[in-house]
Amino acid sequence: MTALGPRSSLPPAITSDVFRVFRDDGSIDEHTDPQLSNEDLIFIYTHMAQTRRLDERFISLQRQGRVAFHVGSLGEEASIIGSAFALRPADWIFPCYREFGAALMRGFPLQRLVDNVFGNSADVVKGRQMPHHYTHRATGWASISSPVGTQITQAAGYAWGSKIKHEDVVTLVYFGDGSTSSIDFHSGLNFAAVQKVPLVLFCRNNGWAISVPTCRQTASATFAEKGLAYGIPGIRVDGNDALAVFSVTRTAARRAAQGLGPTLIEAITYRMGGHSTSDDPNCYRCSADIEPWAQADPLERLLPVLVAKGIWDKDRDAALYASIDETFKECVAQAEVTPPPSLETMFDDVYEKLPWHLVEQRAELLAGPRPSTGR
């Protein structure tokens, strides 16, 4: 399918099927290469590596029973880091729930992420939500909820606000293939297009919505073409190609900043792990499904580029992972000795101030018995 819609400065390659920089043989297409600096390449790679490594560490913690839940992004690192890197610090992100790597990249402290997964009193959201439902206003990271798609409409509203205020802020919203079936995909795209807001709609088509494959999610041939119905150009990109993802997102962000309206990006990638630590994907798919995607691992594609340029090597790689492990270990050690949120905090922030009924209920809880078994 082609990317249709109003004219913009999209390079010619986007009008063919899937935008790519890496060829099948691993070489780079010089026509589509965004020609990032060495510094930028290292930055992207190290954050993808961090995302991968932290994923493994969090899963391990969960299997040991030290945290209750983890939702990872194995295999989707290029889609996440490559796209987030295309934004400016003042731009805003409305995440779904898989993008912790991008949150960290934009300045969300790792300690706060670990605290959030432990749900302790140092957690930004005060232990009120499940792990990975954090937020960080200071780095332009909206709040995460579990119902999928709700962030799309909200992101359209946020971008609309930037337009009304004449502020040079682009909003990017992440969502998965499953979310394209939601009511908010429809409302969000519709409002975003009608109001022509500075929004990048980034759909990570990772093949699955828990156990439901994309062929059962839509009868459309692609997700990108859904933009057509709303008057929004849709672009497909190789989601495991960090350079392609960066390039397409940067173009969409520029279009938004220039007042040309929203763009729908479909990043084709694959959820290599389960939906979360509560899901065993072996129930509904087999290793034959996964194998082709293992051949297109986003880290393994990018690493040789850095090595070939002489800006990275095995030793630096080992040192990077060792450093991530060490820092993570310290964060976990601190999180594990940080106490849970105090009882009183359960009643704060329901409203700005406590109304009479919450004052009463708080007193009731504090005066009452504690549960008999520890949880």
Binding site: S143, G157, W356
Partner: protein, 324 residues
């Protein structure tokens, strides 16, 4: 002082606040060019422009969802849902997102939105233009639910709602949109939220009502007085958080309570109010608490005057409660 209808009072509140606060955006279906199907937003687009008064696509989910995004970005959206019967596509955004955003973000964000919507029957609107769905929203922690009955309160409470930092559902009793008239000061003033008002003093029975049913309660109180029973009628004004202190003070005086609401009986707000009274003032009660409500049926078209808890149905319950 000018005599205004509720429609005019709300319109005035919107104009006064929009002149004062550039953050305010009005959005909804038909609110701009036409000024709303009830003309509540008439003249706003002409004065404040299409950037601040927006005719949206036909999507309640989209109206509330984008309002949340606008609020996160520092604007102050006043969203209209054309009839409260149509609010349900927005229910997820209201209860799972708007009401919970401050709490779930650890106070890092707030989502200050006012959602205005007409409620109530008696206008030959049938199932889909007559509902009074407050119970579905009172049960959601994080929302404030308001329902003024008269023009003075409507303007003052809307101005207070705009100043209040929390997300608010502002229910407008459409049956008395134009029937209720009253003196409304010009310029800016507020009516405190979470504060009920005694609209008729009495010492025999406490009658609690809100919205259009306040007038029915007052009519029943007049007829009860002819039979020697003096009602104290309370207009709740804010449904949640309710002014429990005023209700209890009255019940301690009268020992008897009747709650009136249009919404269906089961799971309705009267159940909550009566339970609160039972918990806090049981030994002051001299008769079983009573409620006069809509029936547990969808709101009927032809028989709406039989369905509504009007004066003729309130009176016998008041008398029975007084004489028990």
């Amino acid at each position: 002082m000018p005599q205004l209808t509720i429609v005019q009072a709300i319109n005035d509140a919107l104009k006064v606040s929009m002149r004062d606060d550039q953050r305010i955006i009005v959005l909804g279906e038909d609110v701009g060019k036409v000024g709303g199907v009830f003309r509540v937003t008439a003249g706003l687009q002409a004065e404040f422009g299409e950037d601040r008064v927006i005719d949206t696509p036909l999507s309640e989910n989209g109206i509330v969802g984008t309002a949340i995004g606008l609020a996160l970005n520092g604007l102050l959206p006043i969203a209209e849902i054309q009839f409260s019967d149509f609010i349900f596509p927005a229910y997820d955004q209201i209860i799972n997102e708007l009401a919970k955003y401050r709490y779930r973000s650890g106070g890092d964000h707030s989502t200050k939105v006012v959602i205005r919507t007409p409620v109530g029957g008696g206008i030959r609107g049938g199932h889909y233009h007559s509902q009074h769905p407050e119970a579905a929203f009172i049960q959601v922690p994080g929302l404030k639910v308001l329902c003024p009955s008269n023009p003075y309160d409507a303007k003052g409470m809307l101005l207070a709602a705009i100043e209040d930092p929390d997300p608010i559902l502002f229910l407008e009793p459409k049956r008395v949109y134009r029937a209720a008239k009253g003196e409304v000061p010009e310029g800016s003033y507020t009516v405190p939220l979470e504060s009920a008002r005694i609209v008729r003093e009495g010492s025999d029975v406490t009658v609690v009502a809100y919205g259009a049913m306040v007038y029915e309660a007052l009519d029943a109180a007049k007829r009860a007085s002819d039979e020697g029973v003096e009602c104290e009628v309370i207009d709740l004004r804010t449904l949640w958080p309710v002014d429990i202190a005023m209700i209890l003070q009255s019940v301690k005086k009268t020992g008897r309570i009747v709650v009136v609401h249009e919404a269906p009986r089961t799971g309705g707000f009267a159940g909550e109010l009566i339970t609160l009274v039972a918990e806090k003032a049981f030994f002051h009660l001299e008769a079983p608490p009573a409620r006069v409500t809509g029936f547990d049926t969808p709101f009927p078209y032809a028989l709406e005057m039989e369905y509504l808890p009007l004066s003729h149905r309130i009176l016998p319950v008041v008398l029975q409660t007084a004489r028990a």
